[in-house]
Amino acid sequence: MDTKTLIAEAKARFNHNSAKAYLAEKYKNKLIVAEQGGLWKADPATISFLDSFDTPQLVLIDTFDNPVQVYRKELLEKLKQVYESTMTEWYIEWKELEGKR
């Protein structure tokens, strides 16, 4: 029996909240970046913070709560790239999911 028939016969309802949580779980870890001896999250706060400085080097607290001296521009570029690609994938899958409402 294919899964579509299975869903229909079981009268199963699509659980939007669980699907949303699954997507968050799936993409959250893709935003984690190991770079320059630290572990970072490619999130808006970190990207904005890095962007607000103009010094070549900066000390940041990584996700393990360790201070790490980083080359600001290089880390910023890496985080922006990871953020953009991950969020685009997330958005595409989210739109597919929204269509199931």
Partner: protein, 268 residues
């Protein structure tokens, strides 16, 4: 640095863990591009298999462990450090379904040892984290353990052996039931002991272990052996009635707690 995965599989009367391990190994080869070593016993090895393991290591397992559904041969996981032929190893449960290259990231994020400290149940996102007991620690998970052959990692595995061999004693101290030996509990205690009862955040994988738990069924959407799309159906009990709910998932690793579901997945 040579890297690989090690799986432990000992067949019981109820479950063929060799088949589970072979299914998982093929997915590891495909998604992680890593060689897989199997630790097993003579009785579990089939007479013939097309699958080519990187290495097969035969040991004599301690079969003295039981749970509600029967014999559960899960002791001796501490031997992974000694038996692994790799400098960097992922020690994986045979019932972990690899659907992505996510586990490779553990090699980038750890120092020399890491495991999961948080879990997330598909279809039950608000489930509380398991604890050893009300008076003890949150459980760590032995489902995925990545380690390097360092002195510290060796000490952690030595502690794991010590906890396994004195499980009742630790169960008394931490107020959990010692009847069934669990690697998760032993690892929780071993890592704490090895770290001088401190928490080192770097020892934890920075994302959650995704479980398929109770009342949840997983069905493959396609017959292709390496397909990564599944339908997850959950029996949501409300006011004495079951309401079936589902989602579809894609490219996501998960750990199947119910072995019957895993066996169904293998058999299509």
């Amino acid at each position: 640095m040579n890297r690989g995965v090690i799986l432990f599989a000992f067949n019981s009367k109820k479950y063929n863990y060799y088949d589970m391990a072979e299914y998982t190994a093929k997915r590891i080869n495909h998604f992680l591009d890593l060689p897989v070593t199997l630790v097993t016993d003579e009785q579990s090895l089939p007479a013939y298999s097309k699958y080519s393991w990187d290495e097969i290591i035969k040991v004599t397992p301690d079969k003295n462990n039981f749970r509600d559904w029967g014999q559960w041969i899960n002791k001796g996981r501490y031997q992974a450090f000694e038996l692994s032929p790799y400098e960097e190893t992922i020690l994986l449960d045979a019932d972990y379904v690899v659907n992505s290259s996510k586990l490779l990231k553990t090699f980038e994020t750890y120092n020399d040892f890491c495991c999961h400290s948080k879990t997330n149940f598909l279809m039950y996102p608000d489930a509380p984290q398991e604890v050893l007991s009300a008076y003890s620690y949150e459980t760590l998970w032995a489902t995925v353990v990545t380690f390097k052959k360092t002195k510290r990692a060796e000490q952690i595995f030595q502690c794991l052996e010590m906890v396994q061999k004195n499980y009742e004693h630790y169960a008394n101290i931490h107020s959990f039931v010692a009847g069934t030996y669990r690697n998760d509990y032993a690892l929780t205690l071993a890592l704490r002991i090895a770290n001088g009862h401190c928490v080192l955040p770097g020892d934890y994988i920075p994302w959650d272990l995704v479980h398929v738990g109770r009342n949840t069924q997983v069905y493959k959407n396609n017959d292709d052996e390496l397909d990564t799309e599944y339908t997850v159906i959950f029996d949501n009990w409300k006011k004495g009635k079951i309401r079936k709910e589902y989602i579809t998932i894609k490219d996501m690793d998960f750990h199947v707690m119910n072995k019957d579901i895993f066996v169904e997945m293998i058999n299509g």
